[in-house]
């Protein structure tokens, strides 16, 4: 049982009459890349918001390792080792890349409420930040102010920030959206590497990327889980083909 890192039971969230997430029960194994796919409006992002504490479910529970995290706030969940990236780029736009990552790394310090010691003197933080930038190939942009970079680079930076917090479980909401083919190639490679030592929950429309990263897939339609299985099972599932691939073309990738 110990290799299960996250388990949701009967997770339900509605917005008024809209059932955004309905009775979702998922079991996630450690060190496995798990993709959630489905048409727009299927409730994928809402599910991530429930997992990261941005929203609270109307019903159901979420357990991370041996702890119930259903009602924890985003900062508490982050400190437990769950990192989150957003569909819309979410960085500190006026900070440099380095400062963004340093702020992220700093959140893991026990003494982060420090009033008199300049942050520059905390060498370990700088090393963490530099390492994270290196992982996403942004080292050359360390001193660049985030908002002046291209959209793709900002997405890479967001990934670097999450890595700087050293999470065990990563919730990634369309990490490849808006990236050029070269950039997304690099990120796919990075995600493949990460998947060996981390648990990933990946929401992504780029099917080639999904199939090359994820070992397990969950298909969501209208807030409900249609099917969960490994890549081959999903590819050949008639239910999925009918409900999803059948009348909904996978988005062409750029």
């Amino acid at each position: 049982m110990n290799d299960i890192i996250l388990r949701t039971e009967h997770l339900t969230k509605h917005f008024g009459a809209l059932m955004a997430v309905q009775d979702v029960s998922l079991t996630l194994k450690k060190n496995l890349a798990h993709a959630i796919i489905g048409p727009n409006g299927a409730g994928k992002t809402t599910l991530l918001n429930l997992l990261s504490g941005e929203l609270y479910p109307d019903q159901g529970t979420i357990r991370y390792k041996d702890q119930e995290i259903t009602k924890l706030s985003p900062d508490q969940i982050s400190r437990l080792g769950i990192g989150r990236s957003y569909q819309k780029t979410n960085i500190i736009s006026s900070f440099t890349c380095f400062e963004n990552c340093r702020l992220a790394a700093q959140s893991r310090l026990i003494t982060f409420m420090d009033f008199f010691r300049p942050v520059k003197r905390l060498k370990a933080l700088s090393q963490h930040a530099e390492k994270a930038l290196e992982l996403v190939n942004l080292s050359h942009q360390a001193a660049t102010v985030a908002q002046t970079m291209s959209y793709g680079e900002q997405r890479q930076l967001e990934l670097a920030m999450i890595l700087a917090t050293e999470p065990e479980l990563l919730l990634l909401d369309e990490p490849l959206a808006g990236m050029g083919s070269q950039e997304s190639g690099q990120i796919i490679e990075l995600l493949q590497t990460l998947a060996k030592k981390h648990t990933l929950i990946l929401v992504e429309h780029d099917m080639d990327a999904v199939f090359s990263i994820a070992q397990q897939l969950t298909v969501m339609v209208n807030g409900e889980i249609l099917e969960t299985g490994n890549v081959e099972q999903i590819r050949h599932s008639t239910a999925v083909q009918e409900a999803y691939l059948g009348h909904y073309e996978p988005q062409p990738h750029h």
């Binding site: 990261s52 941005e54 706030s73 985003p74 900062d75 508490q76 982050s78 400190r79 989150r84 979410n90 960085i91 500190i92 736009s93 006026s94 900070f95 440099t96 400062e99 340093r102 702020l103 992220a104 700093q106 959140s107 893991r108 310090l109 003494t111 982060f112 409420m113 420090d114 009033f115 008199f116 010691r117 300049p118 942050v119 520059k120 905390l122 001193a143 102010v145 920030m161 917090t165």
Partner: protein
Amino acid sequence: MVIINRKSFFFSIIFLLLILFPWIIEDSFYLEQLTRILILGIFAMSLDFLVGYTGIVSLGHAAFYGVGAYTLAYSFQSTDATNFWYALPLSLTASALIATIIGWLSIRTSGIYLLMITLAFGQMFYFFYLESSYFNGSDGIFLLNKPEILFGSYNLFDLENEVNLYFFVLGWFIIVFLLLKTILKTPFGQVIQGICVNESRVRALGYPTPRYKLISFVIAGTLAGLAGFLEATHTGFVTPSYSHWHQSGILLVILMLGGVRTLYGPVLGAATIVLLEDLLPEITDHWKLLLGILIILIVLFLPNGTTDLFSRILFRGPIQKANKDHE
């Protein structure tokens, strides 16, 4: 790097001039004005810390200014002299306490609601002083003497002397400036500056942002209390108008005039307002109209406040841009 060095060189010159001021210009009127500017400068820097660096726009900052001043008046109640070593900590503790309560209730809101709730708290204090017979209502309280900085029974630094008072205020001004500069460079300072730009991101990185905002609010409120304490010491007069929303409003205007997010910008803004309030009435009786027009012109043509003008002349370009190029 050249520009940064030029900047610190320039700051050293300013500090030197401030220290030598009583000997350069021996007119006590100007010393008086400069003392006022420095006190208002402390007040404005404390609001800049909140507005410019944490992203909490408050319309009730004068509440703490009033608490600092009235607490000093309170420590005078039974005697006609008060001990500085007792009065200042009392003022600061009171402002910090009030800031904790108001902050705790306010920071969960944002935008227009935050403005409204802080405005309401500020006015609550104003009306409390106005209606309270204990604090002498609208007549206010005269402080017959300045606080005594006692060392044993010896008055270490006589504040009745206006040059001494000037240095006393200048000392606090430098302390507050350096304190805030230091805090902004620490891990805590990094977090609040992140919150200012994108709170939800900072929270998702694992920081309990409401706690950071509250601490920032308390720091700003306590320093505003210090400014109130100094102003009451300086003028020897405490009235409900210390906490009137007009005071908070003018302070926000000062921030806009000087330029937020710079610390020294608000000080320039304070100087601009004090000098204009001084010069304009000599030109016309309708000087407030003139002041308003000037403020509009400055906001229109110098979006970063008078700091812009200042850095354009001195560094031939906005400071922020110059820094960026050198990173």
